[in-house]
Subunit: 369 residues, 4 copies
């Protein structure tokens, strides 16, 4: 009952890591949007396994099949169905996992929840599920870019205890994508790669923090009281595998400031309402104020490690597990496009909603059509 | 379009801080639940203004009127409507706010979003809106207590830079409620009170962190892939006014650990699947694993301060604002019951959903009826 | 779990016939819409009891209290809460109904569903619940009128076996409202009144058919595949008390025609795509085609009669019931504004959705704002 | 924005008649349900084209591919994805339809709605879209059968003006399926076949009425006030292509009765609450009362005919159309499994909801698990 996200731009994902494939159905995408398989594939390629030596070596082309909703290069306005087949699923390597629970994976909780699980891989808990999100995110990105010039950039801010120095005002796509970690601070990139490789070699894993900046969000996105932009971002981001926390603006650090220090004074600049500082991270009262949106997401170290670990069997017997599956020693480089996708999916939903908010605009809109 | 939360236990809140009142409609509450006005009032009283010298002095009895859905002390299974009237709304003290934007409030963003706003107070952005949530949360609490013995405790962990020492295994309701800050660490309570009073006297405000522990959540709550328990908690909590971040388990601190350090080994204890450590904070793969749930929420310092502040008018003219309204120098003491309410509202929704997850249980259930 | 209707214009109703009152919360109404208490009261007065000698004599002023969401005569864009108090609830006249089931009422089915019921009146099954719908419908009507010039007219087509002759092309509000039956065929009005009065005198009841015509619906309302206009109308109308059937265009009579007779040829007239005939009743493939929408709803005879009837007690003992409550011998005159409200609520939801359907229009809209 | 139906058992369909295929994603199916490809295929085969000489001759095997959500013969509790490929799509036969509108088809309304359409066939308006519904309906049927012993039988009651005599108390699956019309009145079957064949030969089409009886629905299904069983059935059924009306119990004929004639007296029989008559058709106050559910659906004559018809081009020029595509001269025989599917999809949703209605049952349920 939780496979759908969104209200006016709705995505429903399906598929397990080991099965017929994974995919997404998108409901509510406006008609007449030009979208090509290449634009979708571009984002999937940023997410796919085996793209560098610091990701899992599972071999998947992750080729998007556009099954419905797009006709002669334009969206039809009805359900868009996109599918990716599973190609390199080595189910037999999971045979030993059939009867035991991998620590800090979802094996036990899925069984507690459903009474059974697809033990050939992580099932729905696999990061492979995010393929559908990233594909849908590519469409969201196109809409946001076309209508609002919105630019969403996610990047690695921290790997384990290695912190990058990032100027959110100048960070750009090129500086993120020019290295396999997706960290725009070129100085720390080699350190980060080294740390991830060390983890991989030792069979261990590391986590980190992904930051994001969203530029050009118009003021007014976000619906009180439950669908605040912060609330919807938080839900979307915390639905990604391995996330442990999310914060906006100064986030947890805002606690150390007093109101007189934290408040963002309003100014009028270039005929626009602006704030002198942006400690609010572009969102006030749950609604965008036109300043850049700033957020950060914490990812725990990958649960899959090549250490012998204590665990129990399904019947409660204590045993040892030594995972042998291919895995990512650090999910963050591949999680960057996932974070961007989730941000864009929330934004496109609120973009559409924002068009219905003012009675006066409905007339303009209705007449101009 | 964002006034409703939940799927199987749905709440819709309404009302502005200055208007006919505030309230909530609850849809999906099971029939036959015994619930009294006192149980609801008990939670509202923990939230209401003027309850101590460190909260706003606005005088509101916040008396709950149960208008529908409860009959002879039992829920009817149909829409429950609860209303609280506004009594001490001093709209004229807001007259000067009609044409300018208070910094870091929602005045500007509401206007950007809707083209107008109820300038007599904070409108829907007022913390007064949370009355409906807290009333509904009281009903959620009753259900969770009755069926699962779930106990949700929220408490103040930090005020400004004063941090409490809290043992989440032993913290109890009494130690939280016996002081006006709602911090269970009695040693720091006087310091926290002093800090809040200093802020009030100087016209400033402070923020802080609320922590929460949930005991006795059965394994299996949470629906992949979007309605993970972490995701739904994050949305519900980030929809509260003044929140800036949320984290689960070790949260942002998990980043500093390696997988071999962070994983929670499974053990079998008292005939139950347990984990030796609980770095996951009771949620794995977005689903509860039966361990205590741990989470933390960051609140920014209140935006309302009694300082002269730079701002602009609706027409873009630079001006000065000196707020004179009554306000909370620190929202956290009153936010504790709000956090509990949001947690319980998410849990009761997932409790209901959990009952439909296993085909086998449907039979049991259907026959036993 | 069924107290909410709509996607982008959502209404949630609450309240029982005997309790604190009844009301509605509207979520998704655009901001800046001028709406007065009078406009809402106008529709409520058409629905209220005691308005003529052929309706129930329960005395209710049904005065609308606008509690939130409207400020200085304009909608705020956030939740609108409207409440009507119960004034003439004579609960003691229901005492004998506590332990038995009125035939063809919802007493038994509510108890089967929920295990208990508010036996002081019909609870949620009372037609009194529709007050919230009619109040919300008044707002929907205003939006549709303002932006699309849509005019929705419902009227009584048949009472028992007395059929009116109605020209759907010329029927107008005045000819409907100038008589207490709300039938535009002035010739049959006296016969219908007589039939209803006979029913009332004999303690019996009669049903009938309400027809409706909707003018000026723009082409393109309706969302495949489940939210077809026909589907959403059907749900909304069949959710009204006492409804037994609904049909569109020629409805059940279309069965007697062949495709060559039933198809509506397209023509181009006044620079618009039109159809020569309108057997489709304005809806093709579930989407409006710009022609007048035609529909009909069947209402069964009121279940409340003053006859001795066989029934059983809650414990299964056979007994006799002679209803003594005030009741409508025929619900149709008061159901006319309810049908209009439901039609308008569906249309306003699809009006809003229609604005988001074309990618090209989003740009126009976004720029013009 | 209308591709999803249901609340607790949700289906999302996708796909056009001419494209990569059609399919469905099911969210909310309980875990551990045994379901085989054969059970799904059985229903698809009843729906598929070319099954007899009175259906379209389009050749489609309509083989179901189970892509996710089923593992080792059991449902996983997470999204079930089922796909059917398009095999015999002859898009070039639609080339002439690119620039004109087929009368009483959805060509024009889709274009009005979305600004473009997939003119290679009917797109989403094609009856081919119902494949996903029928596949999902097979799973719904299994759940209802397993837990409630519910039996849903739909059948042809009327073709054009040929009416069958049907005893709803004795009609069975065998008598429906033993003839290509799916009419249980063997006497009129040859007449119906003849009428359909005549229509096909003359290039014309005929409509008709499908009736349905549902046995063993427990009392208590249906949620006031908007999700009445009648309302949800009406929406689901009116979302099927070519439907023009729906009625329950006596439906439009109830209008001719007085309340004293129409009311169903309660009796106590075999330790159960029953009604002596069943004019209500098993639903009172929108909730099932345990009696058989009776409903009827009107289908218009197929819009596709092989007559020369007047129409216009996209640019408004008058022209003639002579359809040459393969088509069903009468949709009813293939619509029978569609009607059953829609009924079962609504019922399974309400079955799940019904399990959450009584607080007392939650305890039983929770403990028994």
């Amino acid at each position: 009952m939780g496979d759908t996200l969104g209200k006016n731009f709705r995505i429903t994902t399906w598929g397990e890591s080991h099965g017929g494939g994974v995919g997404v159905v998108i409901d509510g995408c406006p008609a007449g949007l030009p979208i090509s398989a290449e634009e979708i594939q571009f984002e999937l390629d940023r997410r796919k396994p085996g793209q560098s030596r610091i990701t899992t070596q599972r071999k998947e082309s992750d080729t998007a099949h556009l099954l419905s909703g797009i006709f002669e290069g334009l969206t039809l306005g009805t359900a868009i169905s996109i599918m990716v087949k599973n190609e390199d699923a080595r189910s037999n390597s999971y045979e030993e996992l059939k009867d035991l629970y991998r620590p800090s994976h979802a094996d036990y909780t899925y069984e507690a929840s459903y009474g059974l699980r697809n033990w050939k891989g992580g099932g729905r808990a696999s990061a492979r599920e995010t393929i559908g999100r990233v594909a849908a995110g590519a469409i969201a990105k196109k809409i946001l870019s076309q209508h609002c010039n919105i630019e969403t950039l996610a990047y690695v801010e921290q790997i384990h205890d290695i912190k990058a120095k990032i100027d959110r005002n100048t960070v750009d796509f090129e500086s993120i994508e020019n290295n396999m970690v997706r960290c725009p601070d070129q100085e720390v990139v080699p350190l980060m790669i080294k740390r991830i490789e060390e983890a991989r070699k030792s069979g261990d894993s590391v986590g980190g923090i992904i930051g994001a900046v969203v530029r050009n969000t118009p003021p007014g996105f976000g619906d009180p009281v439950f669908d605040k932009l912060t609330a919807d971002f938080a839900k979307a981001l915390m639905s990604l595998p391995a996330t442990r926390g999310v914060e906006f603006g100064l986030g947890f650090d805002s606690v150390a400031l007093k109101g007189s220090e934290h408040n963002d004074p309003f100014i009028f600049k270039d005929q626009q309402v602006r704030t002198r500082t942006n400690f609010s991270g572009g969102i006030q009262g749950g609604i965008s104020n036109g300043e850049d949106i700033h957020l950060r997401v914490a990812f725990k170290p990958t649960a899959t490690i090549n250490f012998e670990q204590d665990t129990i069997t399904r019947s409660g017997k204590e045993t040892k597990l030594k995972a042998k599956g291919r895995h990512d020693p650090c999910v963050l480089p591949r999680a960057v496009p996932m974070v961007e996708a989730m941000i864009n999916l929330v934004l496109v939903d609120h973009f559409l909603r924002s068009l219905l908010k003012k009675n006066q605009s409905l007339s303009l809109r209705n007449n101009s059509d």
